[in-house]
């Protein structure tokens, strides 16, 4: 009986590999993207602490920088593994896409490889350098990590942006690429704003993620200089990034309005082309093409799309393209909800950042109220959710295209019917990987707390091991 139903399930699942391939890609990317902000922005925060430590001879900042560099090595390594899987998946799940467009789409990855490699090398050297290098040279070995992190993510996003704005190639009559201009591929139309949006997101999300850990520590009564520094550095980075992100995001939305009208119609739930389009908070598209529910704010979507023409701005609707060239109703609702989540959480985080900034400006101190810290302790998770939602908007909003207006997802996927098996295996393995990562980091945290300082035998910046200051002995990030 069981055997039969399993076979039945297998036959059912084996019918169409496309949804399975999409699910697996979505799942692995969703996991990988959580590690990206840490890989990109944590090195910067570590260097801020490192600078404080060396410049002002600040022992707590030194301990913080050392610990961060070690945690960073872990998240970086996990990111390397999940990233390796993604490069397998390009071939395994999307062979037709790679076969047709690899000569253009693949180019940015060659440069990403250089930056990633540089980052890997200097992460190792920076950690090594704590014992062997003099303070300032050691500080400078950390700088390439920051630069490589930023340019690495720009390279990857350039490839994704190319899927939204494919340029830099010539097709022959059979639709094959016969000529490639690599600069036009990398610096495609969508690339500058999309890359900026992701890099700032990396600082925003990374900052809130780290800050939330130290906010939780402060809430548990570990109120010492070490925790305040950890919280302050990370939260300041996030609070600076948040308003910048709103500006970049707004420009990117306008770029989508001008260049990907169908995606924009999906975001704003616009079935029919028209002016004076309301900005609808929540709500949904129905199968009959009507939009119901939610809170419509009259004319706002039109006004935001182009303030110069205000409510008279015409927004193109789904009616401008045939049904098979726009997202399905379900996809549309996912995109619209994700958009609301991203903007809503972004606004919330912006308000928290303003509060934090005001406290600095008027009181010259960290806000340490219970409620502020509680919100701050949640900010990491909220920022991750916002980032995931934003990524859903750009990916699902492009459906059914994998290369905008040129290739559909269903034509790109593998024909291999076994993808559902690999999808299940990947979920199990990633769960193990996630649990491992958390366990390893917790084990480190416990060990650091026991040891008090960096590690007993390490003597940062000097031949003599100093006794760690009393205040950090009981601390725990």
């Amino acid at each position: 009986m069981v055997g039969e139903s399993v076979t039945g399930l297998a036959t059912l699942a084996a019918v169409n590999p496309v949804p399975w391939a999409r699910s697996q890609m979505a799942f692995t990317l969703a996991c990988h993207i959580i590690l990206v902000p840490l890989g990109v922005s944590w090195a910067f925060m570590t260097l801020v602490a490192n600078y404080k430590a060396v410049r002002h001879d600040d022992r707590s900042a030194l301990v913080l920088a050392q610990r961060w560099s070690k945690y960073m090595a872990v998240t970086f390594a996990v990111g390397a593994v999940t990233g390796t899987v993604l490069s397998f998946e390009f071939g395994l799940l999307w062979p037709r896409f790679m076969g047709t467009w690899g000569d253009a789409f693949g180019v940015p990855f060659a440069f990403e490889g250089i930056f990633f490699f540089t980052e890997a090398i200097f992460v190792a050297i920076y950690i090594f350098g704590w014992r062997r290098l003099k303070p300032w040279p050691h500080f400078w070995t950390g700088v390439p990590i920051v630069i490589a992190g930023v340019f690495g993510s720009i390279s990857v996003v350039a490839a994704n942006a190319w899927m939204n704005a494919p340029t830099g190639f010539t097709l022959n009559s059979k639709g094959e690429i016969v000529d490639v201009d690599p600069l036009d591929v990398i610096f495609n139309d969508a690339m500058p704003l999309q890359a900026a949006h992701m890099v700032v997101a990396a600082y925003l999300v990374g900052g809130f993620m780290i800050a939330s850990v130290y906010a939780a520590g402060l809430l548990r009564g570990r109120v010492d200089r070490y925790h305040k520094l950890g919280f302050g550095i990370a939260f300041t980075v996030a609070a600076v990034a948040t308003p910048i992100q709103m500006g970049v995001g707004d420009s990117l939305a306008r770029w989508v309005f001008n260049n990907q009208p169908v995606k924009f119609a999906t975001i704003e739930l616009v079935p029919q082309t028209g002016s004076d389009v309301p900005e609808r908070l929540l709500g949904k598209l129905n199968d009959d093409g009507t939009v119901t529910g939610g809170v419509p704010i009259p004319g706002l979507a039109s006004w935001l799309s182009d303030p110069s023409t205000g409510r008279a701005t015409v927004i193109k609707g789904f009616d401008t393209v045939p049904p098979d060239e726009r997202p399905t109703v379900a996809e549309t609702n996912i995109v619209h909800l994700s958009w609301d989540i991203m903007v809503g959480l972004g606004t919330l985080l912006f308000l928290v950042s303003v509060w934090y900034g005001a406290m600095w400006l008027f009181r010259r101190r960290l806000p340490t109220g219970k409620w502020f810290l509680r919100v701050a302790a949640c900010s990491g998770v909220l920022a991750i959710v916002a980032m995931e939602a934003g990524w859903v908007v750009t990916e699902v909003g492009r459906q059914p295209w994998i290369v905008y207006n040129l290739m559909k997802v269903e034509d790109a996927a593998t024909g291999n019917t076994g993808v559902w098996i690999t999808f299940i295996a990947v979920i199990v393995l990633y769960l193990a990987l996630g649990i491992t990562t958390i366990m390893v980091i917790r084990a480190m945290s416990r060990r650091f707390r026991r040891a008090g300082g960096f590690a007993e035998l390490d003597t940062p910046y000097g031949p003599v091991a100093e006794a760690p200051p009393a205040e950090v002995v009981e601390s725990r990030p």
């Binding site: 070690k70 872990v74 996990v78 593994v81 390796t84 899987v85 490069s87 397998f88 390009f90 071939g91 395994l92 062979p95 037709r96 790679m98 076969g99 047709t100 467009w101 690899g102 000569d103 253009a104 693949g106 180019v107 990855f109 060659a110 440069f111 490889g113 250089i114 490699f117 540089t118 090398i121 190792a124 050297i125 950690i127 090594f128 704590w130 014992r131 690429i177 016969v178 000529d179 490639v180 690599p182 593998t414 291999n416 690999t422 295996a425 990947v426 393995l429 990633y430 193990a432 990987l433 491992t436 990562t437 390893v440 084990a443 060990r447 040891a451 590690a455 007993e456 035998l457 390490d458």
Partner: protein, 347 residues
Amino acid sequence: MSTAIAVVLLLAVATYAIFGGADFGAGFWDLTAGGPERGEGPRGLIERSIGPVWEANHVWLIFIFVVTWSAFPSAFASITLTMFIPLTIAALGIVLRGASFAFRKTVVTVRFRRIFGGAFALSSLLVPFCFGAIAGGIASGQVPAGGKAGDPVDSWLNPTSLATGVLAIVLAAYLAAVFLVRNARQVGEPGMAAYFRRRAVVTGVVAAAVALIDFVVLSFGAPHVFDGLTSRALPLVIVSVASGVGTLVLLVRGASHGARALAVVAVACGIGCWGVAQWPYILPESLTFSAAAAPSGTLTALLVAVGLALLIVVPGFVLLYVLDQRQLLPEESVEDVGDRAVESGTG
């Protein structure tokens, strides 16, 4: 220009075979180290040696993918469509290896350590086997041109693939043993040096035997490559064999230097002669490198990237590797179990 890219690709494959191979081979010795008590010494050495360069090594693999999909996209599509199963196993194996390597050291009880240690070691065998089987499948012409899928099973479970897959496992174990001899000497563990020296000699002999079998299998399984090996690639074959023999001599004599370098030359020339023998085909006798090549713009961009990599990455990588080989990276000073897992950089 497609020739230049093909050479770059071959060099990347050789580099991954050496550095990645040594890492996977360390997993083989972990698997065969015996029970928890008997295997403590070798496992400890492996754990300390495998760490920091480990994550950088997969970059070579990613680089191989990037060059293949950018420069030879239709061949990449054919290979990934045909080799879906072994590539998937290899990908899962890489994740499993990373997870279990770290997991093993965060759990305290021996029973769980054995489970995760076993997963680590097993995936260390699976991954090189799959890559060897894929190479064998490509060499024997199992991958059709034109973005089509070949036979999903026979393409990597044919005699050539099996022989090459086993050869990959043995070569990885051999490289790792040679590397570990040197590492053991550097940390002042003569007992471990002797332990791995014996194993290096044995796997060296086994590798020679398997290579000979593979050679015979190629004669009927992959005639084009076999013809190449016995003609244009013959000088490389001779260098490879001579270096292999030289390594064995040095190992048996217990020489302190040279064995590692010669072993690297032997494996690199082994990969090199595969490439030369298969020339001019990326997919033997159905698709040449030049026919599969992307437009010149793409190839130029790739060569620029390679040039930049030579300028930026290679000095850094050499520095990192030297630091690691001199045991200067911080792993060695840390006693704590949980922390070592972390610095080993596996997560």
